[in-house]
C-alpha cells in the first residue's frame, strides 16, 4: 500500500469547475470544485474536517469512511460533485470531546486503538454496522438469509472487514462495538 498524494496532485491541466451543494454534519456547503476532487479531499482540504482520514485512497483500508444519507461509504472513491443535495456525516458530526458519542466512549473504555489513525473510520463504520444489523441487512456469515441477523462477534468481524487497523487493535475494537450491541440492536 502506498501513501497517497492529495489528488489532484498528478494533474497536468485543470478541468472546468462545477458547483455542488450538500450538507456536512447539518451545515450546508456550496462549493465550486475541480471535478477530480473526491468527497474525502473536499472534507479535509476544503472544509477542514480532518477527522476523516486518508489511508490508502483506494477503498481498501476504510480510514475515510463517512455516512452519506445514513449509509457508510469510502469517501475516497466518490467524487464530491456526485453528492448534490446529500447529507454527509463525519466523525466530527457524531460527537465532540465534551459530548462523546457512546461508541466513541466505548472505544476509549476498551482501548480500541493504538495510533488512532484508523479510529474515525472504525467508529463511523461501527455505528453503521449496528444500524445495518438492526435493519436486518444480511452479511456473508448470516446463516439464515430470511431471518434477522444476530449481533454476534462473528457478524461484527465480517461487517467490519472493510476497516483495517495496522496496530491490530481488533480484539478491543470488537469489545467496544459489543458494548453497544444491547443499546442499538
Amino acid at each position: 500500500m502506498t501513501i497517497a498524494q492529495d489528488s489532484p496532485a498528478r494533474s497536468e491541466t485543470s478541468a472546468a469547475a462545477c458547483s455542488v451543494t450538500f450538507s456536512v454534519n447539518g451545515r450546508t456547503s456550496s462549493l465550486v470544485l475541480d471535478p477530480r476532487v473526491t468527497l474525502l479531499d473536499v472534507l479535509r482540504e476544503h472544509l477542514h474536517l480532518t477527522g476523516t482520514k486518508k489511508g490508502c485512497d483506494q477503498g481498501q483500508c476504510g480510514a475515510c469512511t463517512v455516512m452519506v444519507n445514513g449509509r457508510r461509504i469510502n469517501s475516497c472513491l466518490t467524487l464530491a460533485l456526485m453528492h448534490e443535495g446529500d447529507e454527509i456525516t463525519t466523525i466530527e458530526g457524531l460527537g465532540s470531546p465534551e459530548a462523546l458519542h457512546p461508541l466513541q466512549k466505548a472505544f476509549l473504555d476498551h482501548d480500541g486503538f493504538q495510533c488512532g489513525y484508523c479510529t474515525p473510520g472504525q467508529i463511523i463504520s461501527a455505528v453503521a454496522v449496528l444500524e445495518e444489523i438492526g435493519a436486518g441487512v444480511p452479511s456473508h456469515v448470516t446463516a439464515d438469509l430470511n431471518g434477522a441477523p444476530p449481533a454476534t462477534d462473528e457478524e461484527i468481524r465480517e461487517r467490519m472487514s472493510g476497516n483495517l487497523c495496522r496496530c491490530s487493535a481488533y480484539p478491543n475494537i470488537i469489545a467496544a462495538i459489543r458494548d453497544m450491541v444491547e443499546d442499538h440492536v
Binding site: A4, S7, P8, R10, S11, E12, T13, S14, A15, A16, C18, D34, P35, R36, T38, D57, Q58, G59, G62, T65, R71, R72, I73, N74, L77, T78, L79, L81, M82, E84, S125, A128, V129, E132, G136, V137, P138, S139, H140, T142, L145, N146, R157, E158, R159, M160, S161, G162, N163
Partner: protein
Amino acid sequence: MRAFTYERAGSPAAAAAAVATQPGAKFIAGGTNLLDLMKLEIEVPTHLVDVNRLGLDLIETTPDGGLKIGALVRNTDLAADMRVRSDYPLLARAVLSGASGQLRNKATTGGNLLQRTRCPYFYNTDMPCNKRKPGSGCAAMGGLSHNLAIVGASDACIATHPSDMAVALRALDATVETVAADGSERHTPLADFYRSPGETPHIETVLRAAEMITSVTLPQPLGGVQIYRKVRERASFAFATVSVAMVAGSVDGDIRVDRLAFGGLAHKPWRVEAAEGAARSAEAIADIVLAGAKPTADNAYKLPLVRRTLAAVIAQAKSESAR
C-alpha cells in the same frame, strides 16, 4: 488523475447520447472501480456522465414471475431484498461474499458486471499488459500468476474476471438490458455478454460504444438447493481464488447438479452447460468443466482446488436437501 469534465444525465438515453458525442467519455455509477483506476491513470476519461439519479435503482417483479434489477441497484440493496433472499439465495450469497460493507453500499449492479480485472499487471503501468495497452504483451505469463485464469484464456491474456455477482447471475441465466445513444434497447443473455480474451483482451463485453446497461433480469426462481462457496486467501474482503455457484436438485436420494458456474478461473464467469443435468460424481463434473485447462506453474493448484471445492459443495447440497 487526468482532467475531465462532468455532467449529470437526465435519462438513460440522454446519458448514452452524451457519452456518444464526446470521444473518451464514460459513464460513472458507483465509481468504486472507475475512480480507483482513474487515480492510477489506467482509465483516462475526458468526460464523465453521472448516471446515479436516473431512477434505475428499483427491483421489480416481471410479468412472467422473474425479477428485473435496475442497473443502479446497490449491492447492499440487491442482497437485502427479500425476494432475492428467498427466491434467488445464490445471488444474495454471491453479492455478500464480495467487497466490504462500504463498497457494497456504493457499488452498482451494472458497474459490478463491468468492473475490470485485478490482475497485478493490469494495475502496474510500468509493465506490459494487452488489456491495458493492446499489443504491449502479457507480463503475467511467466510472472506472478497465482490468482489468474486456468481455463478460457489466450496467449494474449490470462486475467480473471473478479466479480462474484456475475458468477451467480450466469448460473441463474440472467439477461442484460441496455440502451444505445439513439434510444434503441436490446437484451443480451449474460451467457453472450462477456467475450473470450482471444487477441483482443481489452474488449471485454459485447457492449457497443456508448451503450449503457439499464437493468439485469432474472427468469422465474429455480428453487432447489442454492450454494455459493467462495475460497479466498482470507476470510473476508478478498477476491476468489475459486468460487462455485451451484443449484442442485435431489433425485432418488442423490444430487443432480442443475446449474454450475465458477469464479476465479477464467476471463468471465465459467459455466460449462455439458457438466449440468445428469447425476455425475464431482470428479466427472470437474473433468468436463476443466477440459482444456492450461494453468501456469503458479496457479496449477487451482485444478485440485476446483475438484475439492466442488466435492465439498455437492456434499453440502446433499446434506441440505436431506433436511
